[in-house]
Symmetry: C2
Subunit: 333 residues, 2 copies
């Protein structure tokens, strides 16, 4: 049995989902020869540390009631302090990232790597904004920095490329990388709704956030495109170099006209062209997927076009990618 | 540089495609640290053996002209004899398989394993009909038996499951696993053709074989379902246990009626239910893919539904899966 010590930073929707899966899959992981133990949990305003392993069930209960600070091991130590002190194998950085500077994830990831711990993150901005620096830091320390969950949620596009398409050189990657906009555009096609009405429906269902600007304006998609460009196409690009147009200008009339000619309008992130824009997609094309699904097409020189369709969000679904990275790293420890 | 000796059995469309990729990717593979050398090529009526490595360019030229027997190292030794004698690391078994008994691939795979060589195959019948026996033989010899290319051509469904969805338990798998039937059904939907006319078109384009019964009657799909059931769902099932209905009864009227209600008819292989049958699929479902594309949906307990769409056939595309298996095995040698 391999004993792996984890630190979880961020107890939001994703963080709690990751803990739930850990409780649910405890035996399954043991059957794989892995004993995962969480030795530190860090939130914005404090932390819980226990080298013996934290009682996760109790922690989830308290977190659910917003009473994490009532945990008997709760301290006001900041996450960045804990990351500099704790001795663990892998840090799961699961906070939401600031699009301007990638914080607080940027500092968390650096802190973890400098303290000799591998990092798995679902946090887009630090990877998109500081790709080279963080990669070089990890390489220099001989540590792994993995972020499958940051691009496409449950869709294992990075791992598919690395582990299943080894003989291929990838020529282009494009697709639907944002579930909110896809839900909105799908509703405009199916129910003839205006963008505003479709967006309100998405908000009511909890698919869209109250301020969905980052989704609607293509920023979220652009962050993922930057990560894919650097990771898979090795393009060495920056977020500032992206051409970004969101879906605010898409009208019911344009949707209807497209439909009449056998097309749908989708917000497409085009990695090779570093572009996010609404595009016409033939109705029978593999990228024409509905609801809040994501779909990524990877065009490579031997396999040809391969499309992955799946859930781009959701705490449970995203955990699939997080544990895929964790298990890979654990195998190498 | 790791030196890996290969044996290629079968110089049909797939075998020649695999050799072409080897010539094309020689430098790419060397950059990965792999020096792949073909030390034996076996055909039905004879073989070429050279421990120094066979001149593949020359061999392709001769094979293209149907003059392989003019190769200066050509001998009448049968493939099964060569497999018992030659010393190599990996055998690529790329012959077409007999659906009744899995021959000649069945004997080739056994011969290769018994002689201490790993096996990679694109050959469905031996794996579908003799799954347990061949697996136990490989395990007993501590050798790898891999067959990504036998299910879904370029679609890396087995490797995706094994390498990217580690935390998941798969609940069901279903999809379009035969390109010929998908082409025919797509043409019936798009152009209102009868099955016969659509099939004739497919034959003219070389998508369907002159006798397309195995495709049209669902046998090819059923073989893939058996492999997926045993490999991914660990179901221990046999080909005889399959319920198989092909697409011969699908009429233009039923296609039209489905279309009017927002559905298409697709030939679906359902792995959990061990069934192949034409089913109604909503037009906006990820499995509604056109032309000769294949699409496999894998529903698992953490990631949820994930669909892979790609080329289910073609020598070049299938080579992507064959080399994925070869590179994995080489990494462990």
């Amino acid at each position: 049995m391999k004993k792996i010590k984890l630190v979880i930073v961020g107890l939001g929707v994703i963080g709690r989902g990751v803990i739930e899966i850990l409780l649910e899959k405890k035996e399954f992981l043991r059957d794989m020869g892995l004993d995962l133990k969480v030795v530190a949990l860090c939130e914005v305003d404090g932390s819980i540390v226990s080298d013996e392993g934290i009682d996760l069930k109790k922690t989830l209960e308290l977190a659910g009631r917003g009473e994490l600070d009532k945990h008997k091991q709760w301290s006001n130590s900041k996450s960045i302090e804990i990351l500099g002190e704790v001795k663990a194998d892998i840090v799961l950085e699961l906070t939401p990232g600031n699009i301007e500077n990638g914080e607080p994830g940027y500092s968390h990831i650096k802190g973890a790597l400098k303290n000799g711990m591998h990092v798995v993150t679902s946090n887009k901005p630090p990877i998109a904004l500081h790709y080279r620096e963080l990669h070089e830091l990890a390489r220099g320390e001989n540590l792994e920095l993995r972020y499958e969950a940051a691009v496409g949620g449950a869709i294992p596009i990075l791992n598919l490329h690395q582990k299943c398409l080894q003989i291929n050189e990838v020529e282009s990657i494009y697709g639907i990388l944002n579930g909110t906009t896809n839900y909105v555009l799908s509703k405009m096609v199916e129910d003839g709704l205006s963008l505003e009405n479709a967006l309100n429906e998405a908000k009511e269902l909890g698919i869209a956030e109250q301020d969905p600007s980052y989704d609607i304006d293509g920023v979220d998609t652009a962050l993922k495109v930057v990560i894919l460009a650097n990771s898979i196409l090795d393009m060495n690009v920056e977020f500032g170099g992206m051409k970004i147009r969101g879906i605010r200008d898409v009208t019911p009339e344009s949707v209807e006209l497209a439909k009449k000619h056998g097309y749908v309008i989708k917000l497409i992130g085009d990695v090779r062209r570093m572009e996010v824009s609404p595009r016409l997609i033939p109705v029978d094309h593999p990228l024409n997927v509905s609801d809040s699904l994501n779909a990524v097409m990877i065009d490579s020189d031997v396999a040809g076009e391969l499309t992955l369709v799946g859930h781009g969000a959701g705490a449970r679904e995203t955990s699939s990618s997080i544990y895929s990275d964790v298990i890979d790293i654990a195998a190498g420890i």
